[in-house]
């Protein structure tokens, strides 16, 4: 098991993961520069796969680069762009470069992106992709054909506790964990009651014990960013009072930060929550400030171990 896998499994401290930004060209130095913003504060970074249905530098290339630069990549694979052959090839190919942590997602529809005329693939759905990744981890392709060199993979998935129907989200989380997922990163959400009921559900059905659950927060600095997500990003709903809180504040950027800190504090009090996933759209000092204020992540591992 990888170091990150052990960290997720033993729950000795809250895990911190972050969304690595998409890149559009450059070289290894470009990746290295972007990585320095995250390296001291996170246990792993998500390498996205054409997020929001926009083409970017590929998940495989970015995951390999980040691994070479000494940070644990979580390579996302979405079902939208590639069929089962290509998805398996990407996973096996990346694993040959030391990338062993993967996250299977359905993926936003092509209509969410800037090339809505593209053909959507969806040859697989995410529970099927998780199960196929699990097969690769055991040493074979979906066809049953054996891999010459088996490599154990750490497989994750996502779930959206804030999208209806709530009870189905809990059951779907179980389906993914039954298929082999060992961590679940949750969608961004602004309704604490929905997160609480989802967590109660996954604790009750044993999912939270078998998989590390990581709620997601997003660092923003204006009410416009929240309005954009509410209106344009599939699966994200921002209630009007939340937007008003930021819009009416004297200092919108500071209020935005405080909102996120409250969200993380709240999430970490919930039974079954193993850590937090952070998306940083501010690109300022807020990521460091957040993990420092809450004393979470690798930079504070020693102090957490002392208080545990």
């Amino acid at each position: 098991m990888s170091e990150f896998g052990r960290l997720l499994a033993d729950r000795r401290r809250p895990v911190v993961t972050a969304e690595f930004p998409s890149l559009d060209g450059g070289d290894l130095e470009t990746v290295a520069q972007a990585l320095e913003h995250y390296r001291p504060y996170v246990d792993a970074v998500n390498i996205t796969d054409n997020p929001a249905a926009h083409a970017h530098a590929s998940n495989v290339s970015m995951a390999i680069a980040v691994k070479q630069l000494g940070v644990e990549p979580i390579m996302q694979v979405v079902c939208r762009d590639k069929n089962r052959l290509a998805a398996q090839a990407d996973v096996v190919g990346a694993s040959m470069h030391g990338v062993t942590t993967f996250c299977a997602l359905t993926g936003d529809d092509v209509t969410a992106g800037d090339e809505p005329e593209a053909r959507r693939v969806f040859d697989l759905d995410s529970p099927q992709l998780i199960s196929i990744m699990n097969g690769i981890s055991r040493g074979h392709y979906l066809s049953g054909r054996e891999l010459k060199h088996r490599k154990e993979l750490l497989i994750g998935a996502v779930e959206n506790p804030f999208a209806p129907p709530p009870e189905v989200r809990v059951r779907r989380a179980k389906m993914k964990v039954d298929g082999g997922a060992r961590f679940l990163q949750l969608q961004i959400g602004y309704e604490p009651a929905l997160l609480e009921s989802f967590m109660a559900g996954v604790v009750a059905n044993g999912v939270a014990e078998r998989a590390a659950i990581l709620p997601t927060v997003i660092l923003t600095k204006s009410p416009g960013a929240l309005r954009f997500m509410d209106g344009q990003v599939p699966g994200i709903h921002v209630p009007a009072p939340v937007i008003e809180r930021i819009a009416n504040a004297d200092n919108a950027a500071e209020e935005s930060y405080l909102l996120v800190r409250e969200q993380v504090e709240h999430a970490l009090t919930l039974p079954g929550v193993a850590g937090v996933h952070i998306t940083d759209f501010r690109h300022d000092d807020s990521l460091r400030r957040l993990v420092s204020d809450l004393a979470i992540g690798p930079a504070f591992a020693a102090s957490q171990a002392a208080t545990a």
Partner: protein, 123 residues
Amino acid sequence: MLRKLLPVVEHVVKGPVWDCQMCGQCVLHSTGMTCPMTCPKTLRNGPCGGVRPDGKCEVKPEMRCVWVKAHDRAENMPLLPKSWREEITHMRPPVNNELKGDSSWLNLVSGLDRQTPAGWQED
């Protein structure tokens, strides 16, 4: 003869009622009599994370999410056998694209619709 005729008959029967897409491996009974192939992402194992707060589809906002409908019907549709209601939580394997256009009735009888690749969930 039967191989050519049955798909036509099946489409005539199931098209108007369920908007049947002729995947050739029908799972209607296990999905609240709601065809998952009418989901714009053709998801076979539950709703994606893009479902809108009002239960509408991410891709087609005017349409109720196929899987919201499926779960609702699996619980509430009258006359559905208990075993069919429970099957909605079962994992359905990847679609066999070789069967597209076939009669699922024939594939049900022959068992072809339940054959999976050797590497599918060996446990």
